[in-house]
């Protein structure tokens, strides 16, 4: 398959809106899922490190007292 140029490629034989509308939403969904999952992991790790620090702090307080 050879395209005459970029505009021919984007036109998709008159079906550009449908073809690119499909691919654009596909890309948005996948990018969105990747962002959501990595955010979830990041907040979780931050949260866990806070728990860890506070338990360390408690232990330190216990040994000090």
């Amino acid at each position: 398959m050879s395209w005459a140029g970029l505009s021919d490629f984007l036109d998709m034989g008159g079906y550009g809106l449908y073809v690119w509308g499909s691919y654009a939403v596909f890309l948005i969904c996948i990018a969105g899922e990747i962002i959501l999952v990595s955010n979830r992991k990041r907040t979780l790790l931050k949260h866990l490190s806070l728990i860890h620090q506070s338990t360390k702090q408690e232990k330190r307080n216990e040994t000090a007292s």
């Binding site: 398959m1 596909f26 979780l44 860890h52």
Partner: protein
């Protein structure tokens, strides 16, 4: 040599195994996607009936397949979790649902954008489209039910019931084009008949399906790891994990 099959049913060992596997699946997904899209847009010829509009097939069919495969896998893991009371199986099932729902939505969305130029309508209430929409509701039902129950073990069991009952919908989707007269065309790939489309079209579609598989596996592994950390946060090994990363 005896293999301990249950070793990786422990969330802690699975956490580290999954962590090692994620990069391979992610890289495979990217490489296959690039190759598949190249074949789809630059190698595969124009369809003699549908012109260039058929190029939606390279994401529509993989998304539709994944929506069904992922549901069956989710139901199997839910069932194993219910039968053997293995925590990890239920966590994997929970991790599959959002990716499955996303692929179901994409199958419907790309189908609508394909239906408009070819059939003249975005949507018809025919068997194939309606049963796929029911699949989306099953995924959403599974996720909302689990989110509504505070105790994770009870949420696992309740979700498993939806997943197992709903699995009957998957063969209905698959055979809907045979059992009823529908606007939707028949199966794109069949094991008993030779393919009806040009071989480069088929190759592009199969490579894109593999890419979606790799992507889905990577996503499910990442999400399962997050669920493991959330549920096991009070255990000693998660504490040690945090100690090691600081």
């Amino acid at each position: 040599m005896a293999i301990n099959w249950f070793k990786y049913s422990s969330p802690a060992s699975f956490y580290f195994l999954a962590g090692k596997m994620i990069p391979f699946f992610s890289i495979a997904a990217v490489v296959l996607c690039v190759v598949g899209l190249y074949i789809g847009f630059f190698v595969a010829p124009t369809d003699f009936q549908q012109g260039e509009a058929y190029r939606i097939i390279f994401i529509h069919v993989p998304a539709a397949w994944m929506s069904m495969f992922l549901y069956v896998i989710m139901a199997v893991w839910s069932g194993i979790g219910l039968a053997f009371n293995t925590r990890l199986s239920s966590m994997v099932a929970t991790a599959i649902a959002p990716t499955g729902a996303m692929f179901t939505f994409l199958a419907l969305w790309t189908g609508a954008l394909w239906g408009k130029p070819m059939w003249g309508t975005w949507w018809v209430w025919d068997a194939r489209l309606t049963s796929e929409l029911i699949l989306l509701f099953l995924y959403i039902g599974f996720m909302s039910l689990q989110a509504a129950i505070d105790d994770p073990r009870r949420a696992d069991k309740a979700g498993a019931m939806i997943a197992l009952v709903g699995v009957v919908n998957v063969p209905i989707i698959y055979f809907s084009v045979k059992w009823w007269n529908t606007l939707h065309q028949g199966a794109s790939v069949s094991l008993t008949q030779s393919p009806k489309m040009a071989s480069t079209m088929l190759t592009g579609m199969l490579i894109m399906s593999l890419a979606c598989w790799m992507y889905a596996i990577a996503m499910v592994l990442i999400r399962t790891r997050a669920i493991i950390l959330e549920r096991e946060r009070h255990t000693a090994w998660v504490g040690e994990l945090q100690g090691a990363t600081q």
